[in-house]
């Protein structure tokens, strides 16, 4: 089926735009960039349709990538049901966002010839790596995509590379991800050590017979990797900063696709996890903790993209919760619906920002619903979806996760419910601050062009109706099923929490506009603590970054390297010269001294020879 075409098409787009894009007109760039992605989407459709029910995975082998002894890693692609969903999401949403970007980037002025071609080249490269990631049929190839998307994230976050904050954010994204990759790599090493291969088929086949401790270790290490990529505690800090990139990037990479790779990978590794309950439990704990924690921060942010960034972290936590509770299909389902509504939220936010010529602070917005109605309407769809209002997409997926959580551990359910309330609150808080009340800014808002709004509308439809896509059923045979009875009470509680959140937001930001500040004021330090994101960045900086940098500079470099080791080396030279200096004292130039030395030597020699001859 020529699976290789799927990633190669965007890659071709990348090469063409990357090498010649500077000389191209914008429309020429568009042709290659959007064309390649849309073609890839089309090829995905054709492939999936052509492969039938996909009950058995379909694999293509291209060439041996690495071979050493009997170990080998092939460049192999596989399509199964999970992959199919991911392919659809990635290419579908990817296409939409590419199209949207034409409008969004039209007036952007990045460094280097406006950076237009560069943006699309990077975006295409991202598609290439993302598709490689989902198509990979072994861990190492998955890792290729995994690192590759990280690279694109780095490049796109640092798109405005003349701005220090952007490049800082890019570095942070890459390096924090590297910490996660560290875990991922170790997991791979252990897999090979235990199973002798990295092929999903082989590994999973053997995992069934492996010891639980082995699988727990592997599962845990994979989780570290997933935490990095999917911005979970403790490695989430890069994602909020990553909003420094252009907004479509936030939508595509930092909401819809790349950050969900961790979820994808954990789901993919279910044969390992199902035999490693401890690891599963940790996934759930991290997931729910992240969901709650990020939601608290999200409630206090004023930058519209930051709100959605924390929201993303929080929603990813949900997905982890689902996976950790054994509801893999629910996790993946939420992954998909989240891709719809979060992409929409970001794109909508982009549209707002675009409308306000770059303004991102919600305190300088307000009353925009009349000025940019399309944006408002579509974003509202996403808001209700994420708030879990039935029967929109978020409701179904979130509900499935919470039910599974309840089955797994009730406290996780309750925390999840609270988080759901907070989610509804901060999303609608953002909606109200942006679109309701009076306009507080100085720009002249204008609605975005159709090239931007059309993708918004499509995503809005998906957000609203996405819940009816039968993902859980489709994946039902792929994942092991969890016996979690549908309980109407639980559903009602979670829906109620969401509605309560919406209501509170309405009260505080529409009905009684002054109330927000007074609540914040009454919370005092707690509010400040949350507003400052629990000071986690500062904590990391003080406990890890600074000690490492300063320690390296003063202790290792100046101390050990220059001081001790080189000191010893140069000291040897110095000492040699000192010895030389002492020896020069022998050379007084005085003949009588010389004669004495000769005499001295002579006596020594005679003594030595008498000793040697055995003086009697």
């Amino acid at each position: 089926m020529q699976l290789w075409l799927i990633p190669i098409l965007p890659f071709a787009g990348f090469l063409i735009n990357g090498i010649f894009g500077r000389r191209f007109s914008k429309s020429m760039v568009n042709v290659f960039a959007i064309g390649s992605v849309v073609l890839a989407f089309a090829w995905v459709l054709k492939t999936i349709l052509g492969l039938g029910d996909l009950n058995t995975p379909y694999t293509e082998h291209y060439f041996t990538w690495i071979q050493s002894g009997t170990f080998n890693v092939g460049a192999d692609f596989t399509v199964d049901r999970l992959t199919a969903i991911m392919l659809m999401v990635v290419t579908g949403i990817g296409s939409l966002i590419h199209i949207y970007s034409i409008g969004y980037m039209a007036h952007e002025h990045g460094p280097n010839y406006g950076g237009y071609y560069r943006f699309f080249a990077y975006l295409n490269l991202f598609m290439f790596f993302m598709l490689t990631l989902v198509l990979a049929s072994n861990y190492l190839l998955l890792f290729v995509g995994w690192e590759g998307v990280g690279l694109c994230s780095y490049l796109l976050v640092g798109f405005y590379f003349d701005k220090q904050f952007a490049t800082n954010a890019g570095n942070k994204a890459f390096i924090v991800n590297r910490v996660g990759d560290f875990g991922f790599s170790l997991a791979m090493f252990y897999i090979v050590k235990q199973f002798g291969s990295l092929d999903f088929g082989t590994v999973f086949h053997q995992a069934a017979g492996a010891s639980q401790s082995t699988l727990t270790l592997i599962g845990f290490l994979l989780l570290v990797g997933a935490c990095g990529k999917s911005a979970q505690i403790p490695l989430y800090t890069w994602l909020p900063d990553a909003m420094a990139g252009p907004t479509p990037v936030s939508a595509l990479i930092h909401a819809a696709t790349m950050v969900t790779a961790g979820v994808y990978m954990c789901s993919r590794s279910w044969p390992i996890y199902v035999h490693a309950p401890d690891a599963m439990n940790w996934i759930a704990i991290i997931g729910v903790a992240t969901a709650f924690f990020a939601a608290t921060i999200g409630m206090a942010q004023n930058d519209i993209k930051k709100v959605f960034a924390y929201s993303t972290i929080s929603q990813l936590g949900y997905m982890f919760l689902g996976v950790g509770c054994g509801a893999f299909s629910a996790g993946v389902f939420h992954l998909m619906t989240h891709a719809f509504f979060k992409a929409l939220l970001f794109l909508g936010a982009g549209s707002v920002i675009h409308a306000l010529s770059g303004e991102q602070d919600m305190r300088n917005m307000g009353g925009l619903r009349t000025k940019i109605p399309w944006t408002f309407a579509t974003m509202m769809c996403a808001a209700v979806a994420i708030a879990g209002v039935p029967p929109f997409s978020g409701f179904f997926s979130k509900d499935a996760i919470l039910v599974a959580a309840n089955h797994h551990a009730p406290w996780m359910f309750w925390l999840g419910v609270i988080t759901a309330g907070m989610t509804a609150f901060y999303v609608f808080r953002a909606m109200f601050m942006t679109f309701f009340g009076a306009y507080r800014g100085h720009h002249h808002p204008h609605e975005s062009p159709a090239i931007m709004t059309v993708p918004l509308v499509i995503l809005a439809l998906l957000s609203l109706g996405g819940g009816f896509i039968a993902v859980p059923t489709f994946l039902g045979s792929f994942f092991p099923t969890v016996e979690a009875p549908e309980d109407f009470v639980l559903v009602a509680i979670s829906v109620a929490a969401g509605l309560l959140g919406i209501l509170m937001a309405y009260v505080m930001y529409v009905a009684k506009p002054g109330m927000a500040d007074s609540v914040a004021g009454s919370l005092g330090d707690l509010y400040k603590f949350v507003y400052n994101k629990w000071y986690v960045d500062e904590l990391y900086d003080a406990t890890i970054v600074q000690p490492l940098v300063k320690g390296s500079r003063t202790v290792l470099w100046k101390g050990a390297d220059v001081g001790l080791i080189d000191g010893l080396v140069n000291g040897t030279g110095w000492a040699a010269k000192q010895v030389g200096g002492l020896l020069r004292l022998l050379q007084s130039g005085n003949i009588r001294s010389y004669a004495t030395w000769v005499l001295f030597g002579g006596v020594l020699v005679i003594v030595a020879m008498s000793v040697a001859g055995g003086i009697r």
């Binding site: 020069r584 050379q587 007084s588 130039g589 005085n590 003949i591 009588r592 004669a595 004495t596």
Partner: protein, 103 residues
């Protein structure tokens, strides 16, 4: 031979003279005296040669002493010439003053 001189006396005398020669070299400051000390050392060696020659009943020791004398004479000629040039250039015969090259 009951009241002859023990042969070791000659050898010890030679050692004493040799040591005195060395002492002269080490302690004297006049270049000429230093040179004479060397002659003294050579004389001491000659005494050893001749003593052994006596003991071994060979003429060879005598010959060696003779060769040493010739060498000593040749050394004397050259040595004194060198001393002359040094004196001409530095106007001193103090051996401690001839120490411009050092380190």
């Amino acid at each position: 031979m009951t009241n002859g001189v023990p042969i070791s006396w000659y050898l010890v005398l030679s050692a004493v003279l040799f040591t005195l020669g060395v002492a002269g070299f080490v302690f004297r400051r006049s270049i000429i005296t230093v040179f004479m000390s060397i002659e003294l050392m050579l004389n001491a060696v000659n005494l050893t040669f001749i003593t052994f020659s006596y003991q071994l009943k060979q003429v060879n020791g005598n010959l060696f002493a003779f060769f040493v004398m010739v060498v000593a004479a040749a050394e004397a000629a050259v040595g004194l010439a060198i001393i002359l040039t040094v004196f001409k250039n530095r106007n001193t015969l103090n051996i401690d003053d001839v120490s411009s090259m050092k380190d």
